[in-house]
Structure formats: structure tokens, C-alpha cells
Subunit: 156 residues, 2 copies
Amino acid sequence: MLARDYDLDCSIARTLELIGERWSLLVIRDVFLGNRRFDAIQSSLGVARNVLASRLGRLVDEGILEKRAYSERPPRYEYFLTDKGLDLWPVLVALMGFGDKYSLAEGEEPPMRIVHKGCGGIVNDRRICTDCGAELEVRDARAIAAGTTAPVSTAA
Amino acid sequence: MLARDYDLDCSIARTLELIGERWSLLVIRDVFLGNRRFDAIQSSLGVARNVLASRLGRLVDEGILEKRAYSERPPRYEYFLTDKGLDLWPVLVALMGFGDKYSLAEGEEPPMRIVHKGCGGIVNDRRICTDCGAELEVRDARAIAAGTTAPVSTAA
């Protein structure tokens, strides 16, 4: 019954207030992977434009994304992760680890790996390089497509 | 543009298909904290009973929770995390780490800590004991209320 005391207080609940909506986390994932423009994110996710506009606005208001103009006429913006947004990396890594374990068909390779920029080792779900053992921060790692060394991430 | 190839495939997206709904993760959190019964979870979350019933059913169908009868007349069940459900621990730890960093008022203590059962050390967001350095699994740790040594978790 003690748990009841933590409902409103709980840091998990508070985080979910910010990002606990499937599109929000997928938008954040897209920006991590270098999809910075409205049309690219919209096309990648297939989300309705008004829903995407609302989610992007909320993430900017919450200080998770910031927008920078890349065109003045017409006004167009690219979205970047703030330091706060980059601190969601552990959440994405944990979600990816679970999905790699439970959502792949038998024999299916994970579609994406996270590797240590420094030594190329695979990064595990504790964000530790399985080659050199370093405890990594988001800027120490990049995502690569399965079976290649091609980067899919330019976010950090 | 490579990122576009991973949309449907992405392990993050697949995990969010299962748990990417705020109530689902809060239900899972509650069961981690030892709230096993419908009424306890409903009272803890303040969620509508039909919504809770739907979320619990989905989580059982997905093999994340299992239910066990504790009363035959009337039929009543308790919910337990399966091994698959326990594998969501890293997601909860990551969400909690972000919330502890960004959602607390200045000077406010985190409402809950995760400690290593073995040595009592605080567990960090890589699920490593900050005292003894052990890389912990879910059964090696428990949640305690802030400023106490009282356990709030009986899930594992």
C-alpha cells in the first residue's frame, strides 16, 4: 500500500506526462535518427499533419526539442534535440533492447544497432560498449543499419 | 533518409505498440511496486475501471502480466509480471532517471530510490550498483521510499 503514496509524485509518471504518448516518442526517435524536418518526420511516421504539429509544439514547449529556421520564405524549421531531449537516450535504448528481444521473428536480425563511435563495439542496453567496456553517453554512440557500417544517426 | 527504412521494423516502434500508452506503463509500474489487485491499481491510478480492465487484458494477452485467482467466489485475480514483463525493468528505470533529473522541484528529493538488495547501494540508471559496481538484474534490486529503508517493491 505504500506504493499509493507515489502516484502523483512518481518520476516515472512525471516523465510519461511529457512523453507518454506513442507519437511523441516516435518523433523523438526520428530526430535522434536525423529526421529533422516536418515533411521528413511526417512521411517517416505516417502521422496526421495536425497531430504531428501538435506533438512537435509540445516537445518544443517542454524544452525537449528546439527549432531552427532553415528557410525564411516560406518559414521552415528543423528540429534538434536539446540537452534535455538527448537525456531521453536511455529510454530509447531500453525500449529498443526490449523490442530486439521480443519483437523479432525467429532468426531475424535487429534492424538497427547502436555502436561505440570510439571503437566500433556494439552498445548494450546499459549503454556500455561490449568491446571496450566504456560507459557511454549519447554523443559517444551512433546507430547503424543492420549488417552494415552505415550510420543512420546524426542526432548527436 | 536511411532512417525511413526502419519505421515499421524499428524495435522501439514495436515495443511502443505493446506498451506505448501511458496507462499501460503505469499499470506495469504499479505491479512492479506490488499493487497486484484490480481495486488497488484502480485506486492508485485513478483510471476508469473499463480502461483499466482493457489495459490489464491487453497486457495479459501480450504475455507481460499473468493473472492468478485469489478468490473463487467471487472470482478475483492478482496480476504478476511474467519474465517478459520483468524485462521492462530497464524501461522503467530509464523513465525514472529522466524524471528524477527534470521533474523534481529545486531541492526536492526523488520520491523513490532503487537499491541493490545485496549491499544496499543506490542503483543508477545503467542498473549498476553505485556502491559495489555490480551490474544488476531486476531481482537483485528493490524500490525504497525516499528517506527510509522501507521497501515499496515486492514485484521481483
